[in-house]
Symmetry: C2
């Protein structure tokens, strides 16, 4: 992992250099955040030529470790105005890792307004004219690119919404079936890619050298232990395979924490029709695939292939957050419609979570009625077409609230929350408030420490212990986000001794050093501190580490709870 | 000025109380900023029930002092997210002052979604149902209110855009002819009034007690001296009367500082058709009035009545900033079209400056072509109708830039700049960057210290001396904004010894103390520090005290200058 590719869009030059010393040994989020922090002026315009877009596979990406194909995308976010690491699965992290690249760094802005794509092979990178792909949606785009560059390439691409530079724009990453259904979605990375005039990155790892590992034998042993733990854990070995990520619907709804109709209620009347169990039944009955391994080296198979009544493909990687944001959050319980929304979002390159948040706010404003699936689908099409209404929604929930004069806007740092009501799960509120990423569920997923049914010991309706727990989890998560491993391996790593051991052995063998748990904690702290410092320099303050007023003032049914973690408590978060 | 009216929209109660001790002796901006700072939580949602809207006449409003009818409107701004004092002329400050009220404070939010108006008389205030006025534009609205409450009342009102709670929404203040053409425009005060469900405030000062003055004889002498200086100064005694505020077009354009086509150039090819001289000629020829005294006690007469070719009224108070924002800024040189835009904005209740900025950004995005007057007029109508495109524009230039993916957005703290290109007049750049109000020309007008032709001694293209000068002017302006006097009296007060003396004598006589120049400076400093502290607590930082990237990176013709005041220099501003 000693090389880094620099792609200068202003000068149309690509160069491969030794990875600068400062970034050596860092992978994934650790590398993207370090680089953005060092090389991007914190106050620059996110769509201007000083912003950079960094694609970094994790330290383990491209190896034989199970579930190693998460790609970190780093940038100054047009959505939050702060630093952002958005990540995606699929095949691209693995291939970039195998090519021996620690990162691809895209800099500058095309001066001629013309679109290009980057073709990456073992021999380096080339910028190729791509005007012919202008305006293409992701599915037809990757089809054309696969036909041109080979079926086995991995592709990162933006759809029309990235071209429009809207803050909900994603970067799609093709999965193992070649579908552009895995997305670095949060925070608008697609808008930054669009601002630079880069339509796609095609990654061909044919004859790639592979990841160099200091101690291959030791690595193999660790990898075996690690994989076994992943398979042995009930969540990663069974639950996710059968029900997908949507397995969470039932327990979260039961906890009164399934945000419904723009966070008005914590339970959804139509919950049975959007649950993991129901989805499994539908997919199985119709001949789809409920247990798809979408990411290279995946042994969890949380993904799926969702088909219509006739068995025709609608979408793949149809997940918990998407189903919630465009389901319960909009009062919609028609799974087929939500699947079509997911497909449209994948095609246009729209973050399913942020757009669901935006449509929820628009429904709050009465633009369309809650529960109207057809209207929601049409609104997504407006985003894809770039109509004024579509552009409003495509700019995210915060802008939508501003434009429609709405105060019930469920965002932190202008980013929409996830499918965990922070009043009913206080710990998630702390993570939303304090994560440098804005309201982000993956940065500090403390649901299992809050809900008794999932083994939690904290009172989810009380402040006590929440800040300390969220801090610990956010630190460990930041470290894990450097590895390129799927976030779900946190279950076996945390719960099964051999899982953690296997991971430490792999890391130690990779770098040829003896990694300790303290090293992991130090890494996580370092990453969080880098990100925090960038945000402060960018002009964010503790006033941005707050949930919206309505969550403190309004009690949410069925438990009739408000968010009670004090500002003083929240401000303790960064005391480490 | 010992009483204050509290209007609670949540409880629908109106009470008159003794002015709390903290606010005694403060008027205008000093009072609004002190009250907002003390009573509004800095991080609250600007459209939520914790924000307040404060209407404060100046200390001299309602007296016999010349030009005393400026009304300060205080709030947390939905546009900037910081504290805001927006002010307007007309007749209302004078009437509120005569009623013995130091302020009308509107609190809370109507709970039933119904519109009301506040009727203020010498006997107090009453909330009156106003559903029948819902959706009315300002001109027809004030007509109905004058018919109902009498022709002599002063009226503060919002149009449809205030009802929509858009960030460009103004509060109109009727002028001496009863037209709603004077607006507290900047920062979205109309949106906050709309959020509270208050459509209008009708002020009837019949049999009002008048302002109590400690030493009436001394006051009369000071007022006489002051008025004479106003009449003797070439700007306030002649220039503004003949050419209106638009007298500035020629010198600013000559300095290469007249921002053209979204701040792409500093001179406008069509300048002759939008100049003060040309406007005077047109108005005179058509039988309009080029020298109208729009504000009570005005002896300057900078206002006008602009008529069409047949002599029919189009608009009144047709001013420099409006003509620029919707003229040169959009590449438009058709004065009649700009006048119609002004009328539409007055009617809908839209800040002519912010909307011009927003349309400029939309034209930058290619939504409509620069120079297309008809398109600009139609866009204003879209705002009034609240179409999605209209709502985008009506949310201001910053949101428009975000929604259309544009980086050339001429704002500071999300507020559009005024008709002084900061690269060609560095001092205005410093004021834009540092004023707690966001980019605001009135908060620190240093044009005359920068341009040699207006007596300036600083090099307008250099940083040297700019921060110190802007600081001094901002301090004095903040103090003057407490008096209720027209901003133009700063010319005679600064340039003619008797002007300053007269003012000090009036203030001393009013309060029965001996005011000194040091008192004035202390007051100005105090006001600025209160505002700065609120902004910091609201989450603004020095990163918000910056001009946009493009003004540092792009040189503007004809002088080919960029903005060169360093961040370090800007950060010195608040060292006092």
């Amino acid at each position: 992992m000693g090389k880094m590719m620099r792609v200068n869009m202003s000068e149309l030059k690509v160069a491969v250099e030794e990875t600068p010393k400062d970034y050596l040994g860092l992978g994934g989020r650790g590398l993207t955040s370090a680089l953005i922090s060092k090389e991007v002026p914190p106050t620059c315009h996110p769509l201007g030529d000083k912003n950079k877009l960094v694609f970094a596979p994790g330290s383990l990406s491209g190896t034989t470790a199970a579930n190693n194909s998460r790609l970190s995308v780093g940038l100054k976010s047009p959505l939050t105005g702060g630093i952002k690491e958005s990540n995606a699965g699929g095949t691209t992290a693995f291939k970039i890792g195998r090519l021996g690249l620690s990162a691809i760094v895209v800099e500058g802005i095309n001066q001629d307004g013309k679109w290009r794509l980057l073709h990456v092979t073992k021999d380096g990178g080339k910028l190729v004219p791509a005007e012919e792909y202008r305006g293409l949606k992701n599915y037809p785009l990757v089809k054309k690119l696969q036909d041109r560059f080979g079926q086995k390439v991995g592709i990162l691409s933006i759809g029309p919404v990235g071209e429009m530079k809207l803050s909900t724009a994603t970067i799609a990453s093709t999965d193992t079936s070649g579908f552009p259904c895995r997305h670095a979605g949060r925070g608008g990375p697609g808008a930054v890619m669009g601002s630079k005039g880069l339509k796609a990155i095609v990654i061909d790892d044919t004859k790639a050298p592979g990841v160099s590992i200091a101690n291959p034998d030791k690595f193999r042993e660790g990898a075996k232990k690690f994989a076994k733990a992943v398979q042995d854990h009930p969540v990663t070995g069974q639950g996710l395979k059968i029900l997908g990520t949507n397995m969470l619907v039932a327990p979260i709804n039961a906890a009164g924490a399934y945000p419904t109709r723009n966070f008005r209620e914590g339970t959804f009347a139509g919950v049975e029709k959007v649950s993991g169990e129901y989805m499994h039944e539908v997919i199985t009955k119709r001949g789809g695939n409920p247990s798809h391994a979408g990411c290279t080296t995946c042994i969890i198979q949380c993904s799926n292939v969702y088909v219509d009544k006739k068995g025709n493909f609608i979408t793949s990687a149809f997940e918990y957050e998407t189903i919630w944001a465009n389901g319960a959050n909009l009062g919609i319980s028609d799974l087929d419609s939500i699947a079509r929304i997911d497909r449209l979002c994948d095609d246009y390159g729209i973050d399913t979570m942020e757009i669901g948040g935006a449509i929820g706010v628009a429904m709050e404003a009465g633009i369309r009625p809650f529960g109207d699936a057809k209207a929601a689908l049409e609104l997504i099409k407006e985003v894809g077409k770039g109509t004024p209404l579509g552009r409003i929604l495509g700019s995210g929930a915060w802008v939508t609230g501003k434009v429609f004069g709405i105060t019930r806007v469920p965002v932190v740092k202008r980013q929409t929350m996830a499918a965990y009501e922070p009043r009913a799960i206080h710990g998630m509120g702390v993570s939303y408030a304090t994560s440098p990423m804005g309201a982000d569920h993956t940065a500090g997923w403390v649901v299992n420490t809050n809900l008794a049914g999932l083994g939690g010991k904290l009172d989810p309706h009380k402040a006590e212990g929440q800040v300390d727990t969220s801090r610990m989890v956010q630190i460990l998560t930041a470290a894990m986000d450097c590895t390129g491993l799927c976030t779900f391996v946190n279950f076996p790593v945390g719960d099964i001794p051999e899982g953690g051991q296997g991971l430490m052995e792999m890391m130690s063998a990779l770098f040829g050093v003896d990694m300790t748990f303290d090293n992991v904690v130090d890494l996580g702290k370092k990453v969080l501190k880098i990100e925090r410092a960038f945000n402060l320099a960018a002009g964010l303050t503790k006033a941005d580490d707050r949930l919206p007023d309505f969550m403190i003032e309004e009690k949410i049914p069925p438990h009739n709870v408000s968010f009670t973690v004090s500002d003083t408590e929240l401000d303790r978060f960064f005391e480490f």
